[in-house]
Each structure stands twice: as C-alpha cells, then as structure tokens.
C-alpha cells in the first residue's frame, strides 16, 4: 500500500489521494498560453459556457417535456411556457443558446482557418473540432424534433428522406431510422433519447478529446510564431513574467477569457429576454400535421448554407454535393499543402481564398432562406459551384505558396 502521512490540511489530504497538485499544474497553472492572441481565442471558453447553459436549461425542460406525439406540443407550448414557473426562461435560454452556439462555432472555425491553427501538430484539434460540429448538428436536429410542431415534423421528414440516398431508394433504411413509415411515435421517442442521452454523451467525450488534442501542441498565436514553450515557461516561472511570451492558463488567461465571456453573456441574455424570437420559428407553433406541408420549409439559419448546396441540383447530384460539403471541412489540414502555419494576411492567395469562402457561405446562407425561384436559384447555383471550386483549387494555391 502507498504511504500516507497525516494531512496538514484539506488540500494536502486530497493531494495525497488524488495528486491534485499535479493535476492543477498540468491543466491550469502550468498550461501555457501565448500572450500574442486576441479576443477570438476566447471563443472556446464561450462555447464551454454556452454548452453548460444548454445542459442546465435542458435538465429543467426534461422534467416537464413529454415525448409523446399527442402531448409533446402542449407540454412545450402550454405546460412549460404557461404553467411551469420560469419555464419560459429555460426554454428561451435553451433555444437561444442552441442558435448562438452555432454562431460561436462558426467564428471559432473561421478563426482557426484564418490563423492556420490546423497545421503542424494541430491537425487533431481541427478534426476533433469538426467531429464536435457534426455532433452538435445532430444534437440541434434531434432537439428541433421535440416540440412536434409543423417545422419539427417536416424537417424530420425531409432530413430522414436524405438517407434513402436518391436513386438507391433505401426506403427500408429510412423506415428503420423512423421506426415507422412517417415520423410518428417511435420517431419522436428515439430522437428524444438521442437528444437527451446518447448525443450529449458523445459531445462530452468529444469535448474532452478536443481539449486533450490541444494540450501538447498548445494554442496558436496571432503571428503563427513557433514558441519554445518550455523555454518561455522557464522565464515565466523564474519571475520574468514580462519577458516571457507565455502566460499561465489559470488565472492569467482565464481572467481574460472570462472578460470576453462576460461581454458575450450580456449579449446572450439580451437575446434571451428581449429578442428570443429569432430562435423560435413561427411555423413551429402549429402542431405537427402529416397531411399539410408548410408553404416553405427551411432549416434553422446555421444549416442554411449546406441546405442550399443540396437545392439547385437533381436529387443524386444534390446529395453528392451535400455529402461533399459535409466532409470537406474535416479534410482541411490535408488539403492545405502550404508549409506555412501563419495567418491568412501573410499568405497571399490563401487570404483571398479565405474571404471568398466566408463571403460565399454567407451568400449560400441567405439564398437557403429565400424561395428557390428565379434569380435566387441562379445565385444559389453559382454560389454552390463556387464553394466546390474553392475546395478544389485549395491544394493548388497552397502548394504554390513559398516557404516563409
């Protein structure tokens, strides 16, 4: 048996049994963050906080929500919204956070792309992050089914139909996913399970992985400078905090993180209390009706760009383009052939590529919301072709980049 001595205090008591000193050194006080960063580096913490809000509000909602096709709609719109004290608060926190979490994820992603934070040992950070994006997408979709309104039902119908994979006509697979010919009781129950248990578990595991992939390569910095973390840490620990290019995660960096989080929370609660409507589609306040399609079916704003990729084509080509759009971001570390891991503004053609991609995705998002008619169809088609072309040219333009 290990040797234990009489503890000098509570901290020592835990330290002897759990090595808490080592854990806090590795995870916080001696986990080094470059100083040369900006507020965009705080998005990870903003995401953590938003996820905690989703979890907390979700737990309360779960106590009154009823996953039954007869009662689900009323349990949300009557019981939670009208009867449960502060039920409206949890629902609006949950709905707003679910929408905002995607905005922050997109900012987080595009920050990573801009600063080349997916290269030179940081590939797994990017890949685990993209897996998180997929898991959050599934979580958002499954959650969207639960109020069992018209948009829930028809989004469920359209998205599960994608699994028939066009001309492969895998109707059996679609019926298997639904547990019925159409979205019905079995469907609602299993998506409830996915939303409150399986997918959150997957997300939590992926978050742990995402953090773990970050620990050894450390976070990138504004110049893409390769830091000797051990050397800089030595300086910091010897008292030369000013001369060192790094700071400790806790409490130095954390205090800066929390400043950004605080500003974010002001915006977040402003939305929750005064402007939650953007996260509550009016069509979903009609109960699900399998015999009536809403005049215009569209996903939440964060899926619009990939929805638009699907739209301008015939089913098969649309599905191929959609599949391409879903996986291509994961491949980014391998498609970027440049030897440089530096910010886009130092990379010539890549800088143009970055801004064109961002603009194109904003156009795709706008077109996804508009009815697929006339000029919008054309703009949509051009934007989709541009999106695909951008990813095809990426290896070539980055290959031509000179080593700096």
């Amino acid at each position: 048996m290990a040797h234990f001595t009489k503890a000098t205090g509570l901290q020592d008591w835990f330290n002897q049994r759990l090595a808490t000193d080592i854990v806090s050194r590795v995870m916080a006080t001696e986990y080094w963050i470059p100083k040369n960063i900006n507020f965009l580096w705080a998005m990870g913490m903003v995401l953590v906080i938003t996820f905690v809000f989703l979890l907390a509000s979700g737990i309360i909602l779960m106590m009154y929500y009823q996953p039954n096709v007869e009662t689900a709609f009323d349990s949300v719109n009557y019981i939670i919204m009208k009867e449960v004290e502060f039920g409206w608060l949890w629902r609006h926190v949950h709905g707003v956070a679910a929408s905002i979490v995607f905005l922050i994820m997109y900012i987080h992603m595009f920050t990573g792309i801009y600063y080349g934070s997916y290269k030179k040992g940081r590939e797994l950070i990017w890949i685990s992050g993209m897996l998180l994006f997929v898991a959050f997408s599934a979580e958002a979709f499954s959650g969207y089914m639960l109020p069992w309104g018209q948009m829930s039902y028809w989004a469920g119908m359209v998205i599960t139909n994608i699994f028939s994979l066009g001309d492969l006509h895998l109707n059996g697979l679609v019926e298997w996913i639904r547990g019925d010919y159409v979205p019905a009781q079995a469907f609602l129950n299993r998506f409830y399970m996915l939303h409150v248990l399986l997918l959150p578990l997957v997300i939590i595991v992926l978050i742990a992985l995402h953090f773990a992939t970050l620990r050894i390569p450390h976070v990138n910095n504004q110049e893409g400078e390769e830091l000797d973390f051990e050397e800089e840490a030595k300086k910091y620990k010897s008292g030369d905090k000013k001369g060192s290019k790094v700071m400790a995660f806790a409490n130095d960096f954390l205090s800066k993180d929390m400043l950004v989080v605080s500003i974010f929370m002001i915006l977040f609660f402003y939305l929750v209390f005064y402007n939650y409507d953007f996260a509550m589609d009016p069509v979903n306040f009609d109960p699900a009706d399998g015999l009536k399609t809403p005049a215009h079916i569209y996903p939440e704003w964060y899926f619009l760009w990939s929805y638009e990729v699907l739209r301008p084509f015939s089913t098969n080509i649309g599905l191929i383009a959609f599949g391409f759009a879903q996986v291509i971001f994961v491949m980014l570390p391998f498609l970027d052939r440049s030897p440089n891991a530096i910010p886009a503004h130092k990379r010539g053609a890549f800088q143009i590529w970055f801004w064109v991609l961002l603009a194109d995705m904003i156009v795709l998002t706008a077109m996804g919301k508009l009815p697929p008619e006339g000029i919008y169809s054309t703009i949509g088609l051009v934007s989709v072709l541009l999106f695909i072309a951008l990813w095809i040219v990426l290896p070539f333009i980055t290959k031509m980049e000179k080593k700096l």
Binding site: M157, I162, A186, S314
Partner: protein, 176 residues
Amino acid sequence: MTKTNRRAFMGKAFSAVAGVGAIASLYAMKKSWDPLPSVKAAGFTTLDMSEYKGNELVTEKWRGKPVFILKYTPEMMASLNDDQKTRVIQIGSDYFMVTLGLCTHLGCIPGYNPDEKSFLCACHGGTFNVAGEVTKAPPPRDLDIPPFKINGTTLVLGEEGDEYKKLLEDGKTLRV
C-alpha cells in the same frame, strides 16, 4: 504452454467471445429499431371511389402519408396522351389519378392548382402535371403510386392488385 502463451490465449479467447457477443447485441439493437408489428399491421386504407368530384384533389391518408386522389373530368382525360393514360386508374366508368402526395425529391406535399391543372412543390420548386409526371426538376421521378387493389367501387391501399403489379413491372412506379 509458457505463461505468456497462456495469457495471449486467454486474451484471444476473451476477445473472441466478447466479439461474438458484441455482434449479437448489435443485431438485437438493429432489430429493436425496426418498425413495430402494430405499425406495420395498420398499413391498409379502404376508399369508396364513388364519392369524388372531377378536378377536385382529395388527400387521403395511408400509412401516415398523404395519398392524392384526383378524379379526371372528360376534358382532362382527353388531354392525356397514351403513355400518360397507362398511369390512370379506372374504376367502373370513372378515371383517377392515385399517387402518393409526397414530392419524390425530399417528401414535401405538393399543392394542386385546379386552374393550371398542375402540382407545385413549395420546398424546392418541383412541378408535376395531372398525370403525376415531373414537369420541372429537382424531383427525380414521377409521383409514386401506392400499392392498390380494385374491389368493385372501392380501392384498397396497401394491397397489391393485378393493375398495380402491371404498373410496377412496366416501371411506371417504384415500390413504396
């Protein structure tokens, strides 16, 4: 047998048994997700076809899905070509379009315009004519025809009659 060999053997034996168990439980999980027998058994709808009026679209429900019943007026019948007529269902002296009311693209319900005699799917802009044929992409194929059996003046959806089997053989519809 040396000690290491024994341990390697135990490791392999354990993995093999656990592997079989894992595959078996995956099979059980797959089957647990299947549609229930009660869901499958509720898959028949009987319609009295003498009730419908010409050029008036009625949406019936079969397996939770909408089914379009459109009785053709004599003028509408006259506007159809021979190929289109193969999809027409005759009951007594009446002629009908009977199709699933789901767009073959991604399953939205198209709306019917009785003046233009055409269907428009609002989701992605696909259109169909009164024969159920696609007239504008993205829908990849004509509206599907559900399995049906003609019983005098009634139509049973969910049962495969001779007329339906012929349509299936001729490739006029997919099995849905």
